[in-house]
Amino acid sequence: MIELGMQSSIKLINEDGLRIDGRKPNELRPIRIEAGILNRADGSAYIEWGGNKVLVAVYGPREAFPKHTQNPSRAVINARYNMAAFSVDERKRPGPDRRAVEISKVIGEALESAIFTEQFPRTSIDVYIEVLQADAGTRIAGLTAASVALVDAGIPMRDMVVGCAAGKIDGHVVLDLNKEEDNYGEADLPMAIIPRTQEIVLLQMDGHLTRDELKVAMDMSKKASLYISNLQRQALLAKYREGEEKEAEKNE
């Protein structure tokens, strides 16, 4: 049995210092974000982050139901992280489990720190995060897409929350773990920030890191987050640029 944090026989970093998918230690997986892809939702986004595929829909602000959940001074954020039964190798039993409830909570709280909830008392803002395919780092992929969907829904926000995970494999601190590295590595550290102020809004750790390693991992994540933040912005602008380009073609 392989326990988390135990040395396994699997080699995650080769002699050239490259990881099993050929990435360098500080290299991200390819990321593609698309905004506004669902017609019925108030806002939506789709993200492909390496092997992760996550769809996010945002509804609201709308009257919170049941009524006792309403807060008379601000809006409540209802985030729901859900993994599809077919998102992992072995069928995942559908429905919320301990893990999904925890992830929903931390994502909701991370988003709440950026949203002007006091503008909409007694309402709820519902964020549905559907993981269609999972390959480690889904909570951060979901959170990153959720902020894009919230902006697409026109919800007032201080800034767009963005995140990235770092971790430790074979004794090296690396960025953005994939499934194998997450399973057989020593630690996983998902982190999300508000890029403008660099405030940390989500930080979790699975496994063990020394104080110095933690610092290195956090710096790595922060740098990567700022790069991903730019991708989020490009995705939103692309939605409105498309029409403009078509028009330019027509005029030529």
């Binding site: 602000p61 950026a114 902006v151």
Partner: protein
């Protein structure tokens, strides 16, 4: 620099806004003496105010807005209406031209009926009271309803009503626009389909310039 930046600059939440000595308008917040956008939208200056005109978002009621509301429930002396906002609207019998005399309110307006109303009052606890006691306000009978994004309504109206008047003129369809993004249309079926196509086009192209001329061309072609 791309075309968007030069003319109608689109900003995103958290982007710093340079007020150039003007006042802080809608869609902007300040922190530590600096100003930032809180919504995705187009920057516009108006009357010495810098505003961000949002590109998306729900309808947020403002006093005296004209909206198209649908009855969703009936209480003893008022109707509860859906105005497509974060809160429901209320229409009291006293704010209508009808008299109740203890009769059933559903005989006047039933669930599912639509009215063209104005936002009369918004209380501190965000209760929205509607009224249909003003010129032009009425129960809407017949016709078709099309939903558009509330943020695009001002674009559909155009400068001084130029856009909506162009559409009315070239199609002969009666149009009633609600600020909440509900559009009521009445006229020939084929013309209504044309108007629907045009409304969708305006919605998609709302952030671009020279739209009225393009819509005019589109309508003339479809005739």
């Amino acid at each position: 620099m791309n075309k968007l930046d030069s003319e109608r600059r689109i900003v995103l939440p958290g982007e710093e806004i340079d007020l150039n000595g003007m006042k802080q308008g809608n869609g902007i917040y300040h922190e530590n003496g600096k100003y930032y956008a809180y919504q995705m939208g187009v920057v516009q200056t108006y009357n010495n105010y810098v505003n961000i005109i949002p590109l998306s978002g729900k309808y947020y009621p403002v006093r005296n807005d004209r909206v198209i509301a649908k009855v969703i429930d009936i209480a003893p002396s008022f109707w509860i209406m859906d105005i497509r906002g974060p809160y429901p609207g209320f229409l009291h019998i006293n704010d209508t031209p009808w008299k109740s005399f203890d009769q059933d309110l559903s005989k006047i307006l039933g669930v599912g009926d639509t009215v063209f109303a104005k936002v009369n009052e918004i209380t501190e606890s965000r209760q929205i009271w509607l009224s249909i006691k003003d010129a032009g306000l009425r129960k809407l009978e017949g016709g078709h309803i099309i939903m558009v994004q509330p943020t695009k309504v001002s674009r559909i109206i155009g400068k001084g009503g130029s856009m909506v008047n162009t559409i009315k003129e070239l199609t002969g369809v009666k149009i009633q626009l609600g600020q909440n993004g509900v559009v009521w249309l009445d006229g020939q079926a084929d013309k209504i389909l044309v108007v629907r196509k045009v409304l969708r086009y305006i919605e998609k192209e709302a952030h671009t310039s020279g739209l009225t001329d393009r819509v005019r061309k589109m309508l003339e072609e479809s005739r």
